[in-house]
């Protein structure tokens, strides 16, 4: 499961893409994916606002994930 990273999410993981480990199991919803990220990278726990897109469509917390989906993590950015 490939995740594309933007903004501060890219800075936290230190790469523009991230392969979510299949073990112990693939996250099946957006909510589960967020939980996995917090476990792997605790700094995600401090982000209160994070948009997730599945195959270029904005996704709600309960949206289902499939292993072939392209997921994007889009934090808000403020700079101008």
């Amino acid at each position: 499961m490939k995740v594309l990273l933007f903004g501060i999410a890219k800075d936290i993981i230190g790469a523009s893409e991230f392969e979510v480990p299949a073990q112990p199991k693939h996250p099946s919803t957006v909510k589960e994916l967020k939980d996995v990220l917090v476990v792997l990278f605790p700094e995600f726990g401090t982000l209160s606002s994070l948009a997730i897109a599945i195959n270029s469509e904005y996704a709600e917390e309960n949206a289902l994930l499939h292993s072939t989906d392209e997921i994007a993590i889009i934090p808000p950015v403020s700079g101008g």
């Binding site: 209160s48 606002s49 904005y58 808000p76 950015v77 403020s78 700079g79 101008g80």
Partner: protein, 356 residues
């Protein structure tokens, strides 16, 4: 309207004289005369937008010049709005240029925005962005959003023809500790030029109806890979039902405590011996700092809380005034009775007055 001036765009059959006329009759408000506002205003002015309002109360600083390309070395310390209007007037004498020498606030947002057709959000902080959204929803004005993070940018058109708003993609405002801004994080000079110009293009589409505006689409730009990616998103029920601005758009974690501006701090330092804690990183501190400052980086603060004299007032400073708020929370939690004063604007603002 001088037709010859705009020939190269009116000869485009999709644009034509009709679109040019719409531009000349349009009133566009640009909020922020910084990295995004400068390129957006330069092109909107060149293309013949009839009325351009500019909201900003900042002055030019040396560290603006690498990206805010209309400001010159000899203008450091001058009002951005005044400096920019001088150049825009010389660039296109037909434009009605309206200066708003203020920052957008809950007191003035509705009155200022009401006089315009389209808003271009070129601000640099979350409170202003959420204020712009809510005011535009209340007034039913479309607004073109653009924002930056290092080599990346985001662009979208919100609240346009019953389309989604900023809150449909980012429902609630993040707190300042979690997302750094350009002053803390840095930005490559040309990136705001690209994003500001994409915003100007969207403004032209909104006004004239040509092409397809980025409504319901969220554009992500990555300068390092030259990737553009569009995310589709939908309107969330209720987000267009805002009828009043919030009482405050300040960050929720901002303590109710006191604050002074950098300028006030410099004045006080001339008269008194103050305890100033500088919580920036080693590298930032080495670059320049106040002689009086005690350096305790935010990352080391928890371990060094004993180094602070709690019988004296504690002024906390960082680069832009945001990390200092976090430090104040930390110190306040350790010593609830401490007198803590945030230095608003931080070293960025101080630099102009004290170290210029």
């Amino acid at each position: 309207m001088n037709l010859e001036r705009y020939t190269r765009q009116t000869q485009l059959k999709e644009f034509g004289l009709e679109a040019q006329k719409k531009l000349s009759e349009a009133k566009v408000l640009v909020i922020g005369a910084g990295g995004l506002g400068v390129p957006a205003l330069t092109y909107l002015n060149a293309m013949g937008v009839g009325t351009l309002g500019i909201v900003d109360s900042d002055v030019v600083s040396l560290s603006n010049l690498h990206r805010q390309v209309s400001y010159y070395e000899n203008e450091v310390g001058e009002s951005k709005v005044s400096s920019l209007i001088k150049k825009l007037q010389a660039q296109n004498s037909a434009t009605n240029l309206i200066p708003h020498h203020t920052f957008l606030s809950t007191e003035n947002a509705l009155a200022i925005i009401a006089a315009y057709d389209v808003v271009l959000d070129a601000s640099d902080n979350f409170p202003t962005r959420y204020l712009v959204n809510d005011a535009c929803v209340i007034l039913k004005k479309p607004f073109v959003y653009g924002a930056l993070h290092s080599f990346e940018g985001q662009v979208s058109v919100f609240n346009f023809e019953d389309g989604p708003t900023y809150r449909c993609i980012f429902p609630t405002m993040p707190n300042p500790a979690e997302i750094p801004n350009c002053n803390e994080n840095g930005v490559l000079g040309v990136v705001p030029g690209i994003i500001g110009n994409l915003q100007a293009l969207e403004v032209v589409k909104v006004i004239t109806g040509i092409g397809e505006a980025l409504s319901g689409k969220f554009l992500l730009f990555d300068g390092l890979s030259q990737n553009y990616r569009k995310i589709n998103f939908k309107k969330v029920a209720g987000n267009d039902a805002i009828i009043h601005l919030k009482d405050s758009y300040e960050f929720s974690c901002e303590i109710g405590g006191s604050a002074i501006t950098s300028q006030e701090l410099t004045e006080l330092l001339k008269k008194e011996d103050l305890q100033v804690i500088d919580v920036r990183t080693d590298a930032e501190y080495q670059q320049f700092h106040l002689e009086e400052a005690i350096h305790i980086p935010l990352s080391a603060l928890e371990r060094k809380l004993e180094a602070i004299n709690y019988s004296k007032d504690i002024y906390v400073i960082c680069q832009s005034g945001i990390r200092s708020q976090k430090a104040i929370q930390l110190i306040g939690a350790f010593k609830p009775n401490a007198t803590l004063i945030n230095v608003d604007g931080g070293m960025n603002k101080l630099n102009r007055y004290a170290l210029r």
